[in-house]
Symmetry: C2
Subunit: 213 residues, 2 copies
């Protein structure tokens, strides 16, 4: 699947959007690429390049109007309506995410949780509707769920992904330490692996020590 914008640009634009919300809360109504760059630790020209993928949106000489900027970003990135999401795997990480207040305010509605352990489902108290894992395909289809977070152990991850895709899921964020392969071009998968991130970090440190400036 080919994106019209580079992924790195999309990622930065999402951060800029976040920042707009914050600045707005602080009562600001204008912002320049320099200021954005400073809080996001990026070069100002990178921000400018990113932003005018959306068209000419700034005012020469005086930066960007935060309201307008936010609106354009929301429109381009699809933040205008809430997205329906689910979590598969209600272990510690899954419930941590499930209970995370921030999702409400951020345009995501977690409409279902799944777990293979029936006992766990019964004892859980959460406002989110929970289902046994074998209902994944059916519920995803019926509830028109777009996105899924996978927080199950490695062994189960690929099967879970298969069930989600059978139900017509569009996007998956996978936290299990395995690379999930999309079924078709129509499914987008992002793999996030915390242990791998730690390894990357220590590798960077190690390589730098070995070959210092």
């Amino acid at each position: 699947m080919k994106t019209p914008l580079p992924i790195s640009t999309i990622s930065r634009l999402c951060m800029v959007f976040r920042l707009c919300e914050e600045f707005q809360q602080q009562g600001k109504d204008r912002v320049s690429s320099t200021q954005i760059g400073r809080t996001l630790d990026m070069a100002a020209h990178t921000i400018r390049k990113d932003l005018n993928h959306l068209g000419e949106i700034g005012d020469t000489g005086s930066g960007y109007d935060i309201g307008r900027l936010k609106q354009h970003l929301a429109q381009a990135l699809g933040f205008e309506q809430a997205h329906r999401a689910c979590i598969v795997g209600l272990g510690r990480l899954g419930t941590a995410i499930l209970e995370h207040e921030a999702f409400d305010v951020n345009g995501y509605e977690i409409v279902a949780g799944f777990d293979a352990n029936i006992n766990r489902l019964e004892t859980m108290q959460t406002r989110t509707q929970v289902y046994p894992a074998y209902e994944i395909t059916e519920v995803v289809a019926r509830e028109a769920i777009e996105l899924a977070l996978i927080t199950v152990p490695r062994e189960a991850a690929q099967d879970v992904a298969q069930a989600l895709m059978a139900g017509g899921i569009q996007g998956i964020i996978n936290f299990a330490p395995i690379v999930i392969k999309p079924d078709s071009e129509a499914v987008v998968v992002r793999n996030i692996n915390i242990v791998n991130e730690m390894r990357i970090l220590s590798s960077i440190l190690n390589l730098n020590d070995a070959a210092p400036e």
Copy 2:
């Protein structure tokens, strides 16, 4: 800070390392770039390019010896000795990570946990030593902690990072929804933001719908 290897290469090599462990457990002792590529969903030539950053390590015609490969990777990436890490913020996400068995087997030792809430510290039962947040700088220095995971709320994240850096931390993985700026060239920071990842994912979907192939 400039790395001798591209970050993307490092990231892939870490995954290859992981895969070696798995293949070894399955009793395999040789592997080809094609096989690696298949399970990691990457092109074989990418894997080969990555691997011979480490020197000529494969055997022409018959792939790589897993034992030797793993050893070279471990050496290059610094996985030979365990790394001392800590977690700041023992809320749901923090404790989920703390209790995650996988860290032991993966060469990381979590030697300290911190939280600003003294009551929480008292009621926690964990085999990891816990400290109040105001001791961060001191403990990091005394215990020679290299890596930190930040799982505190946004407001606290930059202060926590400052305290860690004052104690001489080398690497930080930050889960708070804010970009942590390193103090100096000597500190490496990786920012991971789950909500942002979800936004990136739905943006990709949205952009694809808007401009389909």
